[in-house]
Amino acid sequence: MNVPTEHLLFVAAALFSIGVLGFFLRRNVIVVLMCIELMLNAANLTFLAASRAHSDAQHVNLVGPVFAIFVIAVAAAEAAVGLALIIALFRLRQTTEADSVQEMEG
């Protein structure tokens, strides 16, 4: 694939900012979690683009893929804990809207 590294980074930047947008705009906690997954994926794409930029025909750079694997594992753990919190919240309040839970707003 003859694509410059910048274009991979552009795609990652677009995906990350769309994730940030959803994180701030949506009030459904489940969709907010999905936007976090989107941002983690954009970070993964950045890792892989950097690894690809530092690989050549003789020597491959494996730091990017290794860190992408760690990011995937952490994302799985984060999604599991987040969804368990949402289930606990729903059991307490019968809602998943972030605006209806404001005890800690001060």
């Binding site: 694939m1 552009f10 459904n28 694997i69």
Partner: protein
């Protein structure tokens, strides 16, 4: 050919990502997120990362999204949250405008930073057979990165315990009747 596929799939991934943010029901968001993950998986494959492409489909599409779908169906959130936030109503408050401003600022900063010409626009000459060769990757994971690898397994164990504690039904105290 691969270049055309890359640009088409990148555009598709961004469209699906917009769909995640703009979809009315959480169910549609999950389906859009699935589209994004599949497009990204093929992008990884084109960039020379076969193992990561497979892991993306197996872990993200196979495990994490099924978890999301499971929770949405368990809590029966398919439609009743749709009325609360939708379309134009999404931008009604000042907080939303601040959010849009922050997202645009981060996007612009990332775009400018990645187009600064540090990389000179050159196309990397990566090996034909892909970058994340399984043998080399395993040697790295179990050699140089074996400590973080073990830390991940401890993290997953702790997550499992945490999820069981959080999602388990709270037991009422037998005598007092007050929830614990």
């Amino acid at each position: 050919m691969a270049e055309v596929l890359f640009y088409a799939l990148s555009a598709l991934a961004i469209l699906f990502a917009l769909g995640v943010v703009l979809a009315k029901s959480p169910m549609l968001s999950v389906i859009n997120l699935l589209g994004t993950f599949f497009c990204l998986s093929v992008v990884y494959l084109l960039a020379g990362f076969q193992f990561l492409a497979a892991a993306q489909v197996l872990v993200y599409a196979g495990a994490i999204l099924v978890l999301f779908l499971f929770v949405i169906m368990l809590l029966n959130l398919g439609d009743f949250t749709a009325a609360a936030e939708s379309g134009p109503g999404l931008l009604h408050s000042n907080a939303s405008k601040v959010g849009v401003a922050i997202a645009v600022a981060i996007g612009l900063a990332l775009l400018i930073a990645s187009s600064q010409g540090v990389l000179g626009g050159e196309v990397p000459k990566s090996p034909e057979e892909g970058i994340d060769d399984m043998t080399l990757l395993a040697a790295e994971l179990f050699g140089r990165y074996s400590l973080p690898f073990e830390a991940i397994s401890v993290l997953l164990l702790a997550t499992m315990v945490a999820v069981v504690v959080l999602a388990k039904r709270q037991r009422k105290a037998a005598a007092g009747g007050a929830p614990r």
